[in-house]
Subunit: 397 residues, 2 copies
């Protein structure tokens, strides 16, 4: 039979979250609490639901039916994204709507092929790394992000790199880059001729205007950066599926050819446009009423994060993140991540994500997701306070 | 800046249909009729619309909200597909629901990498060929499909091939393979250790039970074939987006490793599941009432094809397809496809697709799509009868 893509050998047998769920399915704890995968739990806003219902109703009429849309998504939605979320710093033509950021990250890899060197934060969202392995990229640098460097990589020690994946606010560490840090990154990209793939999937959680939500708030970024983003966490579209990617027209390869033109060709070849139902919902989400609802959702998850953070503080643990990001990141007593994961699962029923699943420098850490119902969070905080494993509490002597 | 994937150089600058639409936008004809891209025009069935409306409403409630689903799609839909469309010849676990067949074709390529030889029908749906170019596959055989061989490739003269893309009913020629032809293909795949990627996106249009709709109706196919299919043409989901791929567990690589296991890993890495709204609609489409509605849609488009066929017969043209497939394929007077395309566009306002856009053996042919409103078809048939360019009519002497 057919030969196997040798790059498949480079992947671990299971993607992280299916492995987490496999172990959870073997747990005997009577009442599990899900703080593992970052999965939204709050209903989508009424205005978004109504827009999707209306679109579904229209599709059953002769007047309202439409077939294929543009591969890069409806024009009105691209314009709304630009005016609402980018305040005009990019053009609608530069936005490609898709079925989600995870899919886009893999599609983007087709632009660069196997012969580029890439860098990823360590720990990192596994998809960047896996997409590079699948593409056959051999030269992959891990940039340690630890409490010592405030979870921001030391760019001075970065070896020559073609492509840098950068997630801000960060999944899994919950860290948020300052304007100065992003400026340094963009300057570095200009100096070293590096392209940044900036993952802004959690940017809606940034609460302070001094902290940039988009890389394009930094001068010169449109010449060195692609931005990937998503409606998943913004409006609860994890199951509805909608994301977008900005590929500025100013972006050039070494050969001066346009990256944007290539991406248009890649998208028309490998994709057939986002769902018209999801697009209708997203357009409503960016209306005045929709944006208010988004703000309520964001506040809910950030309050969850605050509650978890306070509960963990009870045990004098070092806890990071959770301020402008719905993830908390903590370490405990030098234990291995999967051991911590198992101990928490068996003794407290908390489903978490082992930090080592995100890379070598995630070892010893645990990620807690604040994507949960308030009831779950309150139960979780109670267990953290009252049923926390003794072995994870700091020794007093 | 970053290096460019050298495989991008191998693609033509434009994907076929954007190029067609670019030329159409330059046309001065006052009343264009769209018979180009195979895009559905009939409203989706009421029962499908209601199911999607209900799902959209549920997502706005605490009880009905759900986030991420399984990457391979909801279990109930996979089971329904198996029981309704495959009559149990495959298992629900072997079905991967996706956002469409075009996306799946590209995703499947990740299983095989650059070092396999592939074969495609010529003419062919361009995505197979382009996906191979993007993957860096060098060894691509074109299998001529012409009136002389009844548009079925001569498999005896096929050079050693790892991977065969086979579209049935065929886009663009409209040809349909007999059971004997498919049996020969499956036998060949066993004998030559070849894997078939069988595109069944138009199989719902097959009207006679003696003609197989799925490759799995052929004995031994589950050891040599992957089947890709779609709700796009079946139920008007071109804009809603939903497809599926069957990767049987019996499929093995040369190394005996499971192709199915790898595809599960690829899907969890590059995809985040189909839209829950589209999935709800598809489930309703496969209900008893839904299947009746599908049958009405199919009949509508096949009647369109018949009307076009009769009109073209008026000019004594050789017309193929249109019986079990919504595409017609015809040649005229030894003209080049793009010249024919332009002549029809300027003189009759008919938007068609040039056969040469599907491969070298499509040169001289034109594809007509029967995906249109009846009104459009009746106007088109009138123009074909009354305004057909003189230069395209057979010379009498």
């Amino acid at each position: 039979m057919v030969k196997r893509n040798p790059n498949l050998d480079r992947l671990t047998p299971n993607y992280l979250f299916p492995e987490v769920m496999r172990r959870v399915s073997e747990s005997t704890h009577p009442h599990l609490l899900h703080l593992g995968i970052g999965d939204t739990t709050e209903p989508i806003p009424e205005i978004v639901s109504r827009a999707m219902q209306q679109k579904a109703a229209e599709l059953a009429t002769f007047e309202g039916y439409a077939g294929y849309g543009a591969e890069s998504g409806p024009r009105d939605l691209r314009e709304k994204i630009v005016s609402t979320l980018y305040r005009g710093s990019i053009a609608a033509d530069e936005v490609f709507i898709s079925d989600g950021a995870k899919c886009d990250i893999n599609r983007l890899q087709l632009l660069f092929g196997s012969d580029v060197s890439i860098a990823v934060q360590d720990p990192t969202y596994p998809v960047y790394y896996d997409s590079a392995l699948l593409m056959g990229q051999k030269n992959i640098h891990l940039l340690p992000c630890t409490p010592e460097n405030d979870f921001f990589p030391d760019t001075n020690s970065l070896p020559p790199t073609d492509l840098l994946f950068f997630c801000n606010p960060n999944n899994p560490t919950g860290a948020v880059a300052t304007r100065e840090q992003l400026r340094a990154l963009v300057n570095l990209a200009h100096r070293e001729e590096m392209l940044i793939i900036y993952d802004a999937a959690y940017s809606g959680f940034i609460q302070h205007p001094s902290l940039p939500r988009s890389i394009y708030e930094i001068e010169g970024a449109s010449e060195v950066a692609i931005e990937v983003s998503s409606f998943s966490k913004l409006v609860g579209f994890t199951g509805v599926r909608l994301g977008w990617t900005v590929v500025p027209k100013a972006l050039r390869y070494k050969t001066k050819k346009s990256v944007h033109e290539d991406y248009r060709r890649v998208v028309t070849t490998t994709f057939n446009g986002p769902s018209n139902l999801a697009s209708a919902g997203a357009l409503a989400a960016l209306s005045k009423e929709g944006l208010k609802a988004i703000s309520r959702l964001t506040t809910h998850y950030l309050e969850n994060a605050q509650l978890l953070k306070e509960a963990l503080a009870h045990h004098d643990l070092k806890v990071y993140g959770g301020e402008h990001c719905p993830y908390l990141w903590f370490e405990a007593e030098g234990k291995k991540s999967w051991d911590l994961f198992e101990e928490l699962l068996q003794q407290t029923g908390l489903i978490t994500t082992p930090g080592s699943g995100f890379g070598p420098h995630g070892e010893g850490f645990i990620r807690l997701s604040a994507f949960a119902k308030r009831e779950t969070i309150l139960q979780a905080t109670q267990r953290i306070r009252e049923a926390w494993p003794k072995s994870l509490q700091p020794r007093l002597i």
